[in-house]
Structures are given as C-alpha cells and as structure tokens.
C-alpha cells in the first residue's frame, strides 16, 4: 500500500467534510420553519419566543451561528433534540450501529447470492441457465421494498411462523429486512458480475492460463474474477454507502431503529439539530466508504498502486 497516497486521500477528506458541514448548516436554515416555534408550540407569546431565540443565539448573524455550531462540533457536541431533549450523540450511538448491522448483513446476503449467480450466468452465457438468472435478477431489482418486505413477512412470519414480523428483539429479526435489501442488491451484483466476467473471459491471459493447464476453477476464481472485480467493488461501495445512509422504507416497515428512520422522523418533526447531525453522519459514511473503495481498488488491481 502506498502510504503517501493514503495520506493524501485522508487529507482530501477534510475539505469535503467541511463542505458537508457548511452545506448542511446552510440548507437547514433555508428550509421553512422555526425551531423556536417547534419548541414552544403555536400558543407561545411573541415575547417568550423572542427570549428563547436570543437564548439559543438564533438572532445572531448566520456566519456567527455557523462558527458556534462548528466549534461545538469540533468538540464532539452535536446538540440536543428539540423534542426529546436527548443529546444527539446518544441518539446516533443508539441508531447508527443498527443501520451498520443491517447494511453489513444485507450486503453479505447480496454478495452471497449475487456473485455466484453472476459467475454461473457468465459461464452459461446464452444458455437457458443464463436466461433464467437474468429473469430472476430483473425481477429482484424491480421489486420495491414496500412490496417485497410485507410479502416476506406474510410468507416467513405469518404463514410459516419461522421469523418475527418486525422489530429488533430476537436474533432472527434481521433476516427479513436483510433479505428485502439483499435481494435487490443481489440483482445488481448478478448483472454486474456477469457482464464484467464476460468481458475478461475471452482475454488472452485467460486463454494462456487454460493453456498452462490450470483448473477451470482456478482460472475463473484466481484470474478472471480478480480482473472483473473493479466494477463490482465500485457497485458494492456505492451500495454500501447508500445502505449506511439508512434505508428508510425497509427500516420503517420492519421497525428497525436505524439512522434513516431517525433522519426522516426528524425532518417530519422539524427537529433541526437531529436532521443536521444525521445528514452529517450519512455524508461522512459516504466519504469513508469512498475512501475504502479507493483503497480496495489498489488491493484488487496492482496497476492502480502506481497510477
């Protein structure tokens, strides 16, 4: 691993994060609504509202407010929820691990289903197996979570009684939301693996590997798949980023207390500090995933280390 490259990539994260913080702060102040009104309700007197606005520093110029916000942020203080009065860092600590857990399991399921199916389809390109897998993957990618989720609940929870309908109480509770997300993900990965693999299967070095007498398994897994990994890593990175941003619909349907649900609830209730913190965490997740993806490129393809 090129240490210089790693350091330069890490440094490049700083302006991105600053930009995200600034943009989030400004956007929150542009959307309609007043945090003081959210706190005090409709029946608050004008004097009370003005006093609270002053106490919270909301009557100060925007850049001063940003400076104060950034200073608190730098000290790890994300503020408190307007409604629940709970420190936002506590909310994030409660919710984010649940999202990460769901994202990791969904991604694992997607990979476990998608990559083997993609390899199988590529190896049988043009045959009926390829056709069947293509139909399945198109079906999976066309099924929205708000439809697939209840369907899986009906089958596995209500009719078969194998799994809980929703919630986070039992270990099995993660299976259905992860499958709901994993099926869609596997469809994308199937298509991508098939296409990438087909592109390299007829290359000279694959022919050479076969000519050297390597087993078909070694040719596919060690040579062809490794070369086809780059686009798959890109897709996995993008999907992981989007999973870590919270999958609102799946989290809502399955009562999964993740960051996506927290974000949407905070927007609905105009809980501005929570919205701000959630957007920040989600953006940081994306930045981190992009960084990891970038590093994985170099692991997968040694030529990238010298690029």
């Amino acid at each position: 691993m090129n240490l210089k490259h790693l350091i330069s990539r890490l440094l490049s994260v700083i302006p991105v994060v600053f930009g995200v913080v600034l943009l989030t702060f400004l956007l929150i102040h542009v959307v309609p609504g007043d945090p003081v009104e959210v706190m005090l309700g409709e029946s608050a007197s004008v004097a009370d509202s003005a006093a609270l606005r002053e106490e919270l520093g909301l009557n100060q110029p925007l850049m001063i407010q940003f400076g104060q916000y950034f200073n608190k942020l730098a000290h790890g203080d994300l503020g408190r929820s307007i409604h629940t009065k709970i420190p936002i860092s506590v909310l994030i600590k409660e919710r984010y691990p649940a999202t990460v857990k769901l994202a990791v399991v969904a991604l694992a399921l997607g990979l476990m289903i998608g990559v083997p199916m993609g390899i199988y389809a590529a190896l049988h390109a043009g045959h009926w197996q390829d056709f069947v897998i293509t139909i399945i993957s198109v079906r999976f990618s066309a099924m929205p979570a708000f439809w697939l989720g209840p369907l899986l609940m009906l089958l596995f929870a209500v009719w078969l009684g194998w799994l809980p309908v929703s919630g986070m109480d039992s270990p099995g509770a993660i299976v259905l939301p992860a499958l709901t997300l994993g099926f869609g993900l596997s469809a994308i990965l199937t298509r991508m693996t098939r296409t990438s693999l087909l592109e390299v299967l007829n290359d000279d070095y694959i022919r050479t590997a076969r000519a050297k007498g390597l087993s078909e398994r070694a040719v596919i897994l060690r040579h062809a798949l490794r070369a086809a990994l780059l686009p798959i890593i890109t897709i996995v990175g993008l999907q992981m980023g989007s999973l870590l941003a919270g999958t609102v619909i799946t989290e809502t349907i399955f009562s999964w207390d993740g960051i996506g649900r927290l974000l949407v609830e905070s927007i609905e209730k105009r809980d501005y500090p929570v919205t701000q913190a959630c957007v920040l965490i989600v953006s940081l997740s994306y930045v981190l995933i992009n960084l990891v993806t970038d590093l994985l490129y170099q692991v997968a393809d040694p030529r990238m280390r010298h690029a």
């Binding site: 959307v31 309609p32 609504g33 009104e37 706190m39 005090l40 309700g41 409709e42 029946s43 608050a44 007197s45 004008v46 009370d48 509202s49 006093a51 609270l52 106490e55 409604h83 629940t84 009065k85 709970i86 476990m112 083997p116 199988y120 209840p150 609940m153 009906l154 596995f156 929870a157 209500v158 009684g161 194998w162 799994l163 809980p164 309908v165 929703s166 919630g167 986070m168 109480d169 039992s170 270990p171 099995g172 509770a173 299976v175 809502t252 349907i253 399955f254 009562s255 207390d257 649900r261 927007i267 609905e268 209730k269 105009r270």
Partner: protein, 477 residues
C-alpha cells in the same frame, strides 16, 4: 449446483434457528403496537398524542373531565375564592412511584418549574399564574394576574415530585409519577407496570399500519388502538381470534378555508363547497364504524357542543348554482393542501371526485408534514384538511376563530375576521357562537372519526375511549 444447495440449506437452518420460541408467547406481558413512539414523557414538555396518552397513565392531575367534559376533581377539590384566586385541597392520599407521598408542595413545584422552563410548550397557558401559595401539605392556592374562567380546566399537567424536580431529574426518559402505571424501562420499547397488580405492558413503535396488523395476527402484539385504515380494521374483524371494539370519537376533522382568499371570502362559495361533499358516503365507505358527522369542533355531548346544527347535505347541482350565483367562473380551480399520510391523500382524492360535479376542480397538493403545517400556519393555502385531537375546553373556539387569534397569537389559520362572532365568544354564548360558525363556514366540518381497538388473548376486554386515550389500559383485564 451442490454449493448453491448447501448455501440454501445453511440459510434455511439459520432462518429456522432464529424462529421465535413459543415461550415468549406464554409470558404474562401485554404488548401494544403503537404508530408513534412517545417523544417526551415529561408532562411539562409533552405535546404529541402518544406522550400525552402515556402520561395519563404515569401521572395524576389536579382535575379530570366528566362525560360532558366539565372539569371534575382529580387529585384535588377546588374553590373559586375570587376570579383570580383558586384554592385546591388534595382529596386523597397519593404516593409517587418512588415511595414518597404526594403533597401540595409537589403541585406547587410542578407548576413553578413549568413556568421557569423557557422552552416548555405549555408555559404560555400558565403565564398568568402570579404566585402559588402552599397552606399545608394538602392545601394550596393559585393567584392569577388576570381572571380566567377556564383556569381549572387547564390544570391537567401531571404532578411531579418536588424532590426530583430540584435535582433536575430527567422525567422525559425516566418518568416518576403517581399514576396507575409505573415506568420500568425504555430502550427500543417502553415497558410500564401496573401498580395494583404488577401486570407489565410493553409499547412498541411499529410505523407501518399493515405491519401492526400482521403483528397482531401473528400474536407478536396483543392490542392495537386507532391509526389503521378501515380496510385493515375490516380485515381484523374477519379474524376469529381477534376482537375489534369501536366507540364514538370526539376528534374533529374539517376543511380549513382561507378567509383572505378573494374567492373563498364569499360565503356562498364556502356553502357550495360544503354542499359538494358527500360526507355520509365517505363515512359509510371509508371510515371505521362509529364515525359520525360533525357540526362543530366540540361534539354534541360536550357542554359547549351544539346538537342542533344540521349537516350540509350533498347537493352538487345546488352547489353549482351557488357558485354561478356568486359570479365564479366554472370550473372553479381550488388548491387543497394535505399531508402525505395515505388516508389523508385518499380523502383528498375522494373530495376531488365528489366536488367535480359541482363545478369545482380541486387540485391536491400533498406535502410532507413539516412543510404542510408551516404553510397552514402561514396562511399559504386555499383549503386544507386537518383534525383537532383531544380538545376539551371551549376556549378553542376563540383561539381558532377569534379575529385577534391569527398565528402566532392563536390558531385562526384562515385569518377569519368576524366582530359578531367575537362578541358571542367573549360572552361564551356557545349555542349562538357555534351556530354562527356553522353558518359562516370558516371551517367546513366533516366528521368525528370513530375510535377502535383490536385485541387478542390474553386481553379479555378493552374498550377504546372517545378521545383515543389509553386510560382503559389501567383497568385492562
């Protein structure tokens, strides 16, 4: 292929291995799925319906309401010593859940702490409390800076222990009250225990209505109340092991009208809209049982309600004539704002279809709750649909229709100006005031949605309350 089969065998074993055990169903806990988790269990801050319903179980209040919504003694009896002085005497010996006796000092501390909190939404209602004087452990007096005929009716804040207020105890997440239910824990679900018999109740947030129903059918929860579309209620009614009880409701749904709008300012246009809605058909087809047509914000059985208000009949042709007589060019284009809630959007599409024969072209704008409510408060609408929930005092008429009560002073979101009505409201002549509102139509009344509860064993009997509160859980069998 062999590997794929092995993978699916492992996955199936995992799934089977994770299946919930029947042991869980044998525990004596009663589980209720709720659409929205409570936001704040500190009664000084709670404004959302779930928190208020739970707080009624966790805390006791100075006053309660009878069947006609007249204030009756709760924790205390009262005497009106003068229009600005009220004396309360505790009528029972109550104890907080941490073992301390509830005294007049706790009542004083609760209300004084509320007044000291700058960010408490209920503070404004009590801003006229000048001082609170404790006479002895059972008696105290409230002194007001100005007379308030509805002061007693406002004293419904749950009483907190003075000692814990002094230590800034976090009541929002760890409430300590003296109500029939005691707080146990609140992690992903909220657990309460009934003081009299130790029965545990667990409240779990399940946002999606279909999922709530599936959880009840599957036996993962035992009770549901409200917040379901009628087709799901009908589905539950068809299940032999589930009981559905309904009751009349008091939450008032209406169409709000912008009275500053040049077209809607015309009374005949508002009458036309009222006659263009087939409310009995909506109630019959897409509402739960026990839903009834509404005439005023407060229901007819309320002491300030009005049972004599005749509903506007569905007469689309007459509505069209009224519009033509008002000189309105047909079709009349109107914008109707609503939230993104599925049931609300459904109502909007029904209204759109019903109004078309009357010559009204209703454009639906479905907005996220925050934007929608902000528009409503700012007066940026022609028509909107909302529901008043849990209203008990007739003061609502003044705040919703009084000429001086446009936001932020009150809830007169349609900016209705009517000196004659103002006079009636100040006189508290409720029959005349409600009649005038019904005639002038700053609101177009729709219905009081019926309440329902669905439950299964081990719950034997549970009757929903008209305002949707969960008081019945305290005596649930």
């Amino acid at each position: 292929m062999k590997r794929v089969s092995i993978f699916f065998i492992i996955l199936s074993s995992l799934i089977l291995g994770c299946s919930p055990t029947s042991k869980q169903a044998d525990t004596p806990i009663i589980r209720m799925a709720i659409a929205q988790a409570p936001l704040n269990l500190d009664p000084r801050y709670a404004t959302d319906a779930t928190s208020e319903r739970l707080n009624r179980l966790l805390y006791q209040r100075l006053v309660e309401f009878d069947d006609r919504y007249q204030a009756v003694p709760g924790l205390a009896n009262w005497q009106v010593l003068s229009p600005q002085q009220y004396r309360f005497t505790l009528n029972q010996s109550a104890e907080f859940h941490h073992g301390q006796a509830l005294t007049a000092h706790d009542i004083k501390a609760t209300y004084e702490s509320l007044l000291a909190l700058r960010d408490a939404p209920h503070r404004a209602e009590f801003a006229h409390i000048q001082k609170i004087e404790v006479h002895d452990a059972k008696t105290l007096s409230f002194f007001l800076s100005k007379a308030d005929r509805h002061f007693v009716e406002k004293l419904i804040i749950g009483i907190l222990p003075q000692q814990l207020i002094a230590t800034n105890h976090d009541f929002s997440r760890a409430p300590v009250g003296s109500g029939p239910m005691k707080f146990v824990r609140w992690q992903s679900a909220l657990t309460l225990v009934r003081v009299r018999d130790g029965q545990q109740l667990v409240f779990t947030e399940v946002k999606d209505p279909t999922v709530r129903v599936l959880k009840l059918v599957r036996g993962e929860v035992d009770v549901l109340q409200g917040d379901l579309p009628p087709e799901l209620v009908n589905y539950l009614q068809s299940k032999p092991d589930i009981t559905v009880n309904t009751n009349k409701g008091t939450n008032f749904s209406y169409l709000g009208v912008n009275m500053q709008d040049p077209i809607l300012r015309e009374r005949n246009v508002r009458r036309a809209i009222a006659h263009a809605i087939d409310r009995p058909a909506i109630v019959r087809q897409v509402m739960v049982d026990s839903t009834r047509l509404a005439g005023a914000i407060l229901p007819p059985e309320h002491y300030a309600g009005n049972a004599a208000l005749a509903p506007y009949a569905y007469r689309p042709l007459y509505a069209k004539q009224l519009l033509q007589a008002s000189g309105v060019k047909l079709p009349l284009k109107l914008i109707y704002k609503t939230s993104t809630d599925a049931q609300r959007v459904r109502f909007a599409t029904i209204l759109q279809a019903q109004m078309a024969p009357a010559g009204i072209d209703l454009e639906i704008r479905s907005l996220d709750w925050g934007t929608f409510f902000e528009d409503v408060k700012q007066g940026q609408f022609q028509l909107y649909g909302l529901t008043w929930v849990g209203i008990k005092t007739p003061e609502i008429y003044l705040k919703a229709f009084g000429s001086d009560f446009a936001p932020p002073q009150g809830f007169n979101r349609g900016r209705y100006q009517d000196a004659a009505l103002d006079a009636l409201l100040h006189e508290e002549n409720w029959p005349a005031a409600t009649t005038r509102i019904h005639q002038q139509l700053p609101y177009i009344p729709l219905w009081y949605e019926g309440q329902f509860a669905a439950y299964r064993q081990p719950v034997k009997r549970y009757q929903p309350q008209p305002d949707g509160n969960w008081d019945g859980l305290a005596t649930l069998e």
